[in-house]
Amino acid sequence: MTANAYRLQNSTTLEWEIDGETYPVAGVTEATVSISSSIVELETGDSVLREDHYHESVRFPVAITARKWDHEIIEEVLGSPNTGAFEDRADLPPFSFDGTFEAADESGESVSLAVSDIPVPEDLPIFDLSLGEYGEWTIESDGGSLDTFTINP
Protein backbone atom coordinates (compact mmCIF):
# COMPACT_ATOMS: atom_id res chain seq x y z
CA MET A 1 0.00 0.00 0.00
CA THR A 2 1.46 3.36 -0.99
CA ALA A 3 1.31 6.58 1.02
CA ASN A 4 0.67 9.88 -0.71
CA ALA A 5 1.45 13.14 1.06
CA TYR A 6 -0.80 16.12 0.49
CA ARG A 7 0.26 19.65 1.47
CA LEU A 8 -2.07 22.45 2.42
CA GLN A 9 -2.32 25.08 -0.32
CA ASN A 10 -4.20 27.85 1.43
CA SER A 11 -4.36 28.77 5.09
CA THR A 12 -7.18 27.27 7.12
CA THR A 13 -8.27 26.87 10.73
CA LEU A 14 -8.18 24.12 13.30
CA GLU A 15 -11.64 23.69 14.70
CA TRP A 16 -13.50 22.29 17.65
CA GLU A 17 -17.01 20.95 17.39
CA ILE A 18 -18.90 21.64 20.58
CA ASP A 19 -22.59 20.92 21.09
CA GLY A 20 -23.08 20.65 17.36
CA GLU A 21 -21.44 24.01 16.69
CA THR A 22 -18.08 24.39 14.95
CA TYR A 23 -15.63 26.90 16.39
CA PRO A 24 -12.32 27.93 14.81
CA VAL A 25 -9.55 27.60 17.38
CA ALA A 26 -6.32 28.39 15.55
CA GLY A 27 -5.05 29.68 12.23
CA VAL A 28 -3.03 27.12 10.29
CA THR A 29 -0.54 27.96 7.57
CA GLU A 30 1.06 24.57 6.97
CA ALA A 31 -0.35 21.05 7.09
CA THR A 32 0.44 17.71 5.54
CA VAL A 33 -1.77 14.64 5.49
CA SER A 34 -0.34 11.26 4.46
CA ILE A 35 -2.97 9.06 2.89
CA SER A 36 -2.41 5.37 2.30
CA SER A 37 -4.93 3.76 0.05
CA SER A 38 -6.08 3.04 -3.44
CA ILE A 39 -8.15 6.19 -2.92
CA VAL A 40 -5.41 8.07 -4.74
CA GLU A 41 -6.33 6.20 -7.90
CA LEU A 42 -9.70 7.86 -8.06
CA GLU A 43 -10.39 10.22 -10.91
CA THR A 44 -10.99 13.94 -11.12
CA GLY A 45 -14.30 14.94 -9.64
CA ASP A 46 -14.61 11.80 -7.53
CA SER A 47 -15.66 12.44 -3.98
CA VAL A 48 -15.73 9.82 -1.29
CA LEU A 49 -16.74 9.54 2.30
CA ARG A 50 -14.80 7.72 4.94
CA GLU A 51 -17.45 5.09 5.39
CA ASP A 52 -17.25 4.10 1.73
CA HIS A 53 -13.56 3.37 1.67
CA TYR A 54 -12.19 2.96 5.15
CA HIS A 55 -12.86 1.18 8.32
CA GLU A 56 -13.60 3.66 11.09
CA SER A 57 -10.32 2.83 12.81
CA VAL A 58 -8.10 3.74 9.84
CA ARG A 59 -6.17 6.89 10.69
CA PHE A 60 -3.80 9.05 8.70
CA PRO A 61 -0.67 10.86 9.93
CA VAL A 62 -1.05 14.61 9.98
CA ALA A 63 1.44 17.41 10.60
CA ILE A 64 -0.06 20.80 11.33
CA THR A 65 1.61 24.12 12.06
CA ALA A 66 -0.80 26.39 13.88
CA ARG A 67 0.44 29.92 14.47
CA LYS A 68 -2.45 31.93 15.85
CA TRP A 69 -4.72 30.70 18.61
CA ASP A 70 -7.96 32.17 19.80
CA HIS A 71 -7.97 33.16 23.42
CA GLU A 72 -11.72 33.75 23.67
CA ILE A 73 -12.76 30.29 22.53
CA ILE A 74 -9.99 28.47 24.38
CA GLU A 75 -10.88 30.20 27.62
CA GLU A 76 -14.55 29.40 27.09
CA VAL A 77 -13.79 25.71 26.54
CA LEU A 78 -11.04 25.29 29.11
CA GLY A 79 -12.29 27.69 31.74
CA SER A 80 -10.43 30.44 33.52
CA PRO A 81 -6.78 29.97 34.54
CA ASN A 82 -7.82 30.71 38.11
CA THR A 83 -10.08 27.67 38.25
CA GLY A 84 -7.28 25.26 37.41
CA ALA A 85 -9.35 23.90 34.58
CA PHE A 86 -6.37 24.09 32.27
CA GLU A 87 -4.75 21.16 34.03
CA ASP A 88 -7.51 18.80 32.99
CA ARG A 89 -7.05 17.92 29.34
CA ALA A 90 -8.77 14.57 29.21
CA ASP A 91 -12.07 15.86 27.92
CA LEU A 92 -10.78 18.30 25.36
CA PRO A 93 -12.56 17.88 22.06
CA PRO A 94 -10.45 16.62 19.15
CA PHE A 95 -9.41 19.03 16.41
CA SER A 96 -10.66 18.94 12.86
CA PHE A 97 -9.78 20.92 9.77
CA ASP A 98 -10.38 21.04 6.05
CA GLY A 99 -8.83 22.74 3.05
CA THR A 100 -7.39 22.47 -0.43
CA PHE A 101 -4.27 20.36 -0.68
CA GLU A 102 -1.69 19.63 -3.36
CA ALA A 103 0.05 16.31 -3.89
CA ALA A 104 3.64 16.50 -2.67
CA ASP A 105 4.86 14.28 -5.49
CA GLU A 106 4.77 17.15 -8.00
CA SER A 107 1.98 15.51 -9.96
CA GLY A 108 0.08 18.75 -9.49
CA GLU A 109 -2.96 16.86 -8.26
CA SER A 110 -5.24 19.07 -6.16
CA VAL A 111 -7.67 17.66 -3.63
CA SER A 112 -10.11 18.98 -1.10
CA LEU A 113 -10.19 17.01 2.11
CA ALA A 114 -11.47 17.16 5.63
CA VAL A 115 -9.80 15.49 8.60
CA SER A 116 -11.37 15.05 12.02
CA ASP A 117 -10.69 13.28 15.33
CA ILE A 118 -7.20 14.70 15.71
CA PRO A 119 -6.46 14.27 19.41
CA VAL A 120 -5.17 17.23 21.39
CA PRO A 121 -1.68 16.21 22.55
CA GLU A 122 -0.99 16.10 26.25
CA ASP A 123 1.95 18.46 25.95
CA LEU A 124 0.16 21.14 23.96
CA PRO A 125 0.81 24.49 25.71
CA ILE A 126 -2.56 25.63 24.54
CA PHE A 127 -3.16 28.34 27.12
CA ASP A 128 0.29 29.88 26.69
CA LEU A 129 -0.21 29.87 22.95
CA SER A 130 -3.55 31.59 23.14
CA LEU A 131 -2.22 34.35 25.39
CA GLY A 132 0.68 35.22 23.13
CA GLU A 133 0.24 37.40 20.12
CA TYR A 134 1.55 34.56 17.96
CA GLY A 135 2.56 31.02 18.75
CA GLU A 136 3.94 28.30 16.55
CA TRP A 137 3.10 24.77 17.45
CA THR A 138 3.29 21.74 15.22
CA ILE A 139 1.13 18.68 15.71
CA GLU A 140 2.88 15.49 14.69
CA SER A 141 -0.10 13.28 15.18
CA ASP A 142 -0.36 9.59 14.47
CA GLY A 143 -3.67 10.22 12.99
CA GLY A 144 -6.82 11.89 12.04
CA SER A 145 -9.81 10.37 10.33
CA LEU A 146 -10.46 11.29 6.74
CA ASP A 147 -14.00 12.54 6.39
CA THR A 148 -14.03 13.66 2.78
CA PHE A 149 -11.58 13.45 -0.09
CA THR A 150 -12.41 15.08 -3.41
CA ILE A 151 -10.11 15.28 -6.41
CA ASN A 152 -10.38 18.78 -7.82
CA PRO A 153 -10.65 19.49 -11.55
Partner: protein, 154 residues
Amino acid sequence: MSLDIDPEQKREELIKGAEEAEREAKAEQAEILNAVKNDEELTHDSYEWVQVGDAEFKVSTTLPGRVIDILQEFDGDEMPPMDKIIDAASIQTESIRTDNTVVSDSDSIADFWSAYYHEYGSKTIDVVANRILDPAVEETQEGVPQSFQGQQRR
Protein backbone atom coordinates in the same frame (compact mmCIF):
# COMPACT_ATOMS: atom_id res chain seq x y z
CA MET B 1 -21.81 25.93 25.81
CA SER B 2 -22.80 28.80 23.58
CA LEU B 3 -20.29 31.35 22.38
CA ASP B 4 -21.43 34.70 21.16
CA ILE B 5 -19.08 34.82 18.22
CA ASP B 6 -19.30 34.88 14.47
CA PRO B 7 -17.36 31.76 13.38
CA GLU B 8 -16.75 33.13 9.87
CA GLN B 9 -15.36 36.40 11.18
CA LYS B 10 -13.25 34.53 13.73
CA ARG B 11 -11.96 32.22 11.01
CA GLU B 12 -10.86 35.19 8.90
CA GLU B 13 -9.14 36.81 11.89
CA LEU B 14 -7.25 33.63 12.75
CA ILE B 15 -6.12 33.00 9.18
CA LYS B 16 -4.98 36.59 8.82
CA GLY B 17 -3.13 36.37 12.14
CA ALA B 18 -1.51 33.07 11.24
CA GLU B 19 -0.30 34.37 7.90
CA GLU B 20 1.11 37.48 9.55
CA ALA B 21 2.87 35.26 12.10
CA GLU B 22 4.33 33.16 9.31
CA ARG B 23 5.61 36.27 7.51
CA GLU B 24 7.25 37.47 10.72
CA ALA B 25 8.83 34.07 11.35
CA LYS B 26 10.27 33.96 7.83
CA ALA B 27 11.56 37.52 8.10
CA GLU B 28 13.30 36.66 11.37
CA GLN B 29 14.80 33.55 9.80
CA ALA B 30 16.04 35.54 6.79
CA GLU B 31 17.58 38.14 9.09
CA ILE B 32 19.47 35.47 11.02
CA LEU B 33 20.63 33.76 7.81
CA ASN B 34 21.92 37.07 6.48
CA ALA B 35 23.68 37.78 9.76
CA VAL B 36 25.39 34.38 9.66
CA LYS B 37 26.47 34.98 6.06
CA ASN B 38 28.58 37.92 7.25
CA ASP B 39 31.05 35.57 8.95
CA GLU B 40 34.38 36.03 7.11
CA GLU B 41 35.56 32.50 7.79
CA LEU B 42 32.60 30.89 6.04
CA THR B 43 31.89 30.91 2.35
CA HIS B 44 28.20 31.04 1.53
CA ASP B 45 28.04 32.55 -1.93
CA SER B 46 30.69 31.60 -4.47
CA TYR B 47 30.30 30.77 -8.11
CA GLU B 48 32.11 29.31 -11.08
CA TRP B 49 31.37 29.50 -14.79
CA VAL B 50 30.84 26.17 -16.56
CA GLN B 51 30.90 25.95 -20.34
CA VAL B 52 28.27 23.77 -22.02
CA GLY B 53 28.42 24.09 -25.79
CA ASP B 54 28.18 27.79 -26.60
CA ALA B 55 26.39 28.59 -23.35
CA GLU B 56 27.92 29.46 -20.01
CA PHE B 57 26.35 28.46 -16.71
CA LYS B 58 27.11 30.40 -13.56
CA VAL B 59 26.89 27.69 -10.91
CA SER B 60 27.20 27.75 -7.15
CA THR B 61 30.27 26.09 -5.66
CA THR B 62 28.44 25.45 -2.41
CA LEU B 63 25.87 22.72 -1.87
CA PRO B 64 22.74 23.81 0.00
CA GLY B 65 21.16 21.25 2.28
CA ARG B 66 18.25 20.59 -0.07
CA VAL B 67 20.70 19.49 -2.80
CA ILE B 68 22.75 17.45 -0.35
CA ASP B 69 19.54 15.69 0.69
CA ILE B 70 18.82 14.78 -2.94
CA LEU B 71 22.35 13.50 -3.51
CA GLN B 72 22.44 11.51 -0.29
CA GLU B 73 18.98 10.08 -0.75
CA PHE B 74 20.09 8.43 -3.97
CA ASP B 75 23.72 7.82 -3.05
CA GLY B 76 24.98 4.54 -4.47
CA ASP B 77 23.77 2.51 -7.41
CA GLU B 78 20.32 4.04 -7.68
CA MET B 79 19.92 6.91 -10.13
CA PRO B 80 17.78 9.78 -8.82
CA PRO B 81 14.49 10.35 -10.62
CA MET B 82 14.78 12.94 -13.34
CA ASP B 83 12.69 15.53 -11.49
CA LYS B 84 15.16 15.38 -8.60
CA ILE B 85 18.11 15.87 -10.96
CA ILE B 86 16.32 18.83 -12.53
CA ASP B 87 15.62 20.26 -9.07
CA ALA B 88 19.27 19.96 -8.06
CA ALA B 89 20.54 21.45 -11.32
CA SER B 90 18.06 24.33 -11.08
CA ILE B 91 19.07 25.12 -7.52
CA GLN B 92 22.77 25.13 -8.40
CA THR B 93 22.36 27.30 -11.49
CA GLU B 94 22.57 31.03 -10.77
CA SER B 95 22.37 32.20 -14.38
CA ILE B 96 22.81 31.06 -17.98
CA ARG B 97 24.22 33.23 -20.73
CA THR B 98 24.89 33.02 -24.42
CA ASP B 99 26.12 35.73 -26.75
CA ASN B 100 22.66 37.25 -26.93
CA THR B 101 20.76 36.08 -23.88
CA VAL B 102 21.09 36.04 -20.11
CA VAL B 103 18.65 34.12 -17.90
CA SER B 104 18.95 34.65 -14.18
CA ASP B 105 15.55 34.27 -12.52
CA SER B 106 14.81 30.94 -10.86
CA ASP B 107 11.59 30.25 -12.79
CA SER B 108 13.28 30.68 -16.16
CA ILE B 109 16.20 28.53 -15.07
CA ALA B 110 13.87 25.75 -13.90
CA ASP B 111 11.96 26.07 -17.19
CA PHE B 112 15.21 25.72 -19.10
CA TRP B 113 16.15 22.49 -17.32
CA SER B 114 12.69 21.01 -17.84
CA ALA B 115 12.75 21.96 -21.52
CA TYR B 116 16.25 20.55 -21.90
CA TYR B 117 15.12 17.26 -20.44
CA HIS B 118 12.05 17.10 -22.66
CA GLU B 119 14.17 17.87 -25.71
CA TYR B 120 17.18 15.64 -25.12
CA GLY B 121 16.14 13.05 -22.56
CA SER B 122 17.58 11.61 -19.40
CA LYS B 123 21.03 10.49 -20.51
CA THR B 124 22.10 13.92 -21.79
CA ILE B 125 20.67 15.84 -18.87
CA ASP B 126 22.36 13.49 -16.45
CA VAL B 127 25.75 14.30 -17.98
CA VAL B 128 25.14 18.05 -18.06
CA ALA B 129 23.65 18.17 -14.57
CA ASN B 130 26.66 16.34 -13.21
CA ARG B 131 28.89 18.96 -14.83
CA ILE B 132 26.81 21.67 -13.17
CA LEU B 133 27.00 19.95 -9.79
CA ASP B 134 30.70 19.06 -9.97
CA PRO B 135 32.17 22.39 -8.76
CA ALA B 136 30.05 22.32 -5.60
CA VAL B 137 30.61 18.61 -4.96
CA GLU B 138 34.39 19.01 -5.33
CA GLU B 139 34.43 22.12 -3.16
CA THR B 140 32.41 20.33 -0.50
CA GLN B 141 34.69 17.29 -0.50
CA GLU B 142 37.80 19.47 -0.25
CA GLY B 143 36.31 21.36 2.65
CA VAL B 144 35.55 18.30 4.75
CA PRO B 145 38.42 16.98 6.88
CA GLN B 146 39.25 13.30 6.40
CA SER B 147 38.58 12.73 10.06
CA PHE B 148 34.98 13.76 9.58
CA GLN B 149 33.04 11.19 7.67
CA GLY B 150 29.69 12.77 8.13
CA GLN B 151 26.46 11.00 8.73
CA GLN B 152 23.94 10.17 6.09
CA ARG B 153 20.54 11.64 6.70
CA ARG B 154 17.82 9.03 7.09
